[in-house]
Symmetry: C2
Subunit: 355 residues, 2 copies
DNA sequence: TGGGGGGCTGCACACGTGTGCAAAGGAGGG
DNA sequence: CCCTCCTTTGCACACGTGTGCAGCCCCCCA
């Protein structure tokens, strides 16, 4: 399959033209002090003039270093990933590493093929920016024997390191905001129940309620799936609960978007009747109706940090490292004080037990 | 910098264990008919058992083929790109090519560095999935001397090919829909004026108005920028026009989102008072308020087609090719028949000239 | 003037894989 | 039985770059 790549200038061609050996050219271009400065300069000029471009494959072979980092993502369709990838790529470029893309879309066959491609390319390290890494994926990656940095997906293993947003602290921010506005009945729409981030946000939610002396009603915690449908269903169930919350903290912005939709469908105004807080600060959070107050993960920083950590690991540090970056609250327009409590008496104990 | 990649099994190791020469191993693993079938099978078994993984760099060097395709995108933050990349990646994986990521974020220095990285990796071809390729970027890419497939960015050049959605036909769909609903005063909020896609959508807009016998008011065409702000400003100007449109066709969904926001701010209900059509069908189009009727580009198909085209070019076809894929209309809830024309007389000629 | 040392250069080999060519061995036909 | 041809294998070189080591030349010092 395929044609050959066009034959390009090699250091031997330059050597011939310069009347030196290819070794000298190699050294001159690499800036070795072993070459006479004038000669080196002459060679560099000549190389530039001849349009020389080093051959990465040949260099890899000679040096046993590829300068390639694998970037594993389940799917680019996750708007959350863009900024992370930007951060990763920027640091990679600065430090002379190349990125190999490996997406899997959660298909086991493709995951396997992708890992094989990474192995054949002899990646020196791997960054996994993906909410859900397949359970089988990770072992294969570990078998590569190179350091792995997981983003927002902390696990334990000899080659495993991680950079994650501090979801619990982020949840604290969201809840502190709602509590400060005067809310006391606050719901939480979960993401994928098994996700670590979900458990942490839930923990943060519970902690802040407890700290405020509020006893959370079990009905306030409803299951979503991290996607808009989940938010829709979740909010519907919340609205049906006996002690209807005046505010909802959502696992992520996608969930919040669904929740906003359901609120509208139920005739509720946001934020007058219901306050909503999201998580992630995706691009569209600023354009929902109303614009969404949300907890921003430092995505770009996480990307930079992950690649920076990988660089350090490639330099030789081998101890497993797990880094946490703080979130911050982005206040927009989806939160307000709770609606005036109708002076209607709350249900008495007896009434509650009635059908 | 960096440690060496762990030493892995080579065909020489296998050869030693199998008691044959490395040539035989190479041939066996590549499935050459020159090897005794039993021997070949034995070698393949041994290779698998020893955990052999071919070294892509060495193979590249020997065959002068890298199997690498450069994927150039200005920024991943464009939600539009995700599906395209998915299509590209899928075909690439199926056909044994690897993807090399190069983003530039419109920074000239980074563009240069990215192109140099592509050159050093000896990419066999390049796919450019990016609304705005820097003017300087493209010449550098062309200097690589490998086929280039542009997505949604048709230009002419010896190595340039393209796959694009048929924007004009898409505009026809949108306009046909609005006209069929009974609208006669229809505005268009542009994208970046220089963008080819914008010119095509504008052309499609004009053609359909003309076909319907409608003489477009110059005030109906207002300038946006492809982002929500542009849509906001654009709609504000449209609402201020003397013959206020009852429907707006927007350059893209981001613009439409801004337009929806401005409509709300102006107290207009969508779709009762104003119909809005977007373009692109990004993920969030389904979650705007109301859900956005829009023209979908076949993004996934475009990605697949682009990579497929590149494969054919790599096989040897050299004629510049420009492919067009049709769009389709996705009807949601942002369009309705125009509001009942208030029986109020329209302004007379004389009145119009008054201050 | 001889010896030592430093600066610079080239030789030769290595990296891992692929492949043209020669050669060995066996089978089959005359 | 010999010749030919086919199958199978290994040798040797190539790809482009990097690098240890030897060697050359020149300068400096004794």
């Amino acid at each position: 399959m395929g044609r050959r790549v066009p034959r390009r200038i090699s250091i031997k061609d330059i050597a011939r033209r310069a009347g030196v050996s290819h070794s000298t050219v190699s050294r001159a271009l690499r800036g070795s002090p072993l070459v006479n400065p004038q000669t080196a300069e002459r060679i560099r000029r000549l190389a530039a003039r001849m349009g020389y471009v080093p051959n990465a494959a040949a260099r890899s072979l000679a040096t046993a270093r590829t300068g390639i980092v694998g970037l594993v993502i389940t799917t680019l369709a996750d708007p959350f990933l863009a900024e992370i990838v930007r951060g990763v790529e920027e640091v990679a470029l600065e430090s002379g590493y190349r990125l190999f893309l490996a997406t899997s879309n959660a298909d086991p066959d493709r995951e396997l093929a992708a890992v094989r491609a990474l192995a054949e390319s002899r990646v020196e390290g791997v960054i996994v920016a993906s909410s859900r890494v397949g359970e089988l994926y990770l072992p294969h990656l570990e078998a590569l024997g190179v350091p792995i940095v997981l983003i927002n997906n902390q696990r334990e293993g000899p080659f495993l390191h991680s950079v994650a947003a501090d979801s619990r602290q982020g949840a604290h921010l969201a809840m502190a905001h709602l509590l400060a506005l005067g809310h006391t009945r606050i719901g939480y729409i979960t993401g994928p129940p098994a996700a670590r981030s979900n458990r942490e946000r839930l923990a943060g939610y519970r902690e802040m309620l407890a700290a405020a002396g509020i006893d959370p009603d079990p009905e306030w915690i409803v299951e979503g799936n991290g996607r808009p449908e989940g938010g829709e269903w979740g909010l519907q169930r919340l609205l049906a609960s006996s002690r209807r919350p005046t505010a909802v903290f959502c696992y992520n912005d996608m969930t919040a978007i669904g929740a906003l939709k359901a609120a509208r469908a139920a005739g509720l105004r946001v934020p007058e009747d219901l306050s909503v807080v999201g998580f992630d600060d995706i691009l569209f959070a600023a354009y929902t109706e109303p614009p969404l107050t949300t907890v921003a993960q430092p995505k770009y920083e996480m990307g930079r940090t992950a690649m920076g950590l990988l660089l350090r690991l490639l330099e030789g540090e081998q101890a497993p490292v797990h880094l946490r970056l703080p979130c911050r609250l982005v206040e927009r327009a989806s939160c307000a004080p709770p609606p005036q409590e109708r002076p209607v008496r709350s249900l008495s104990f007896d009434e509650r037990r009635l059908p």
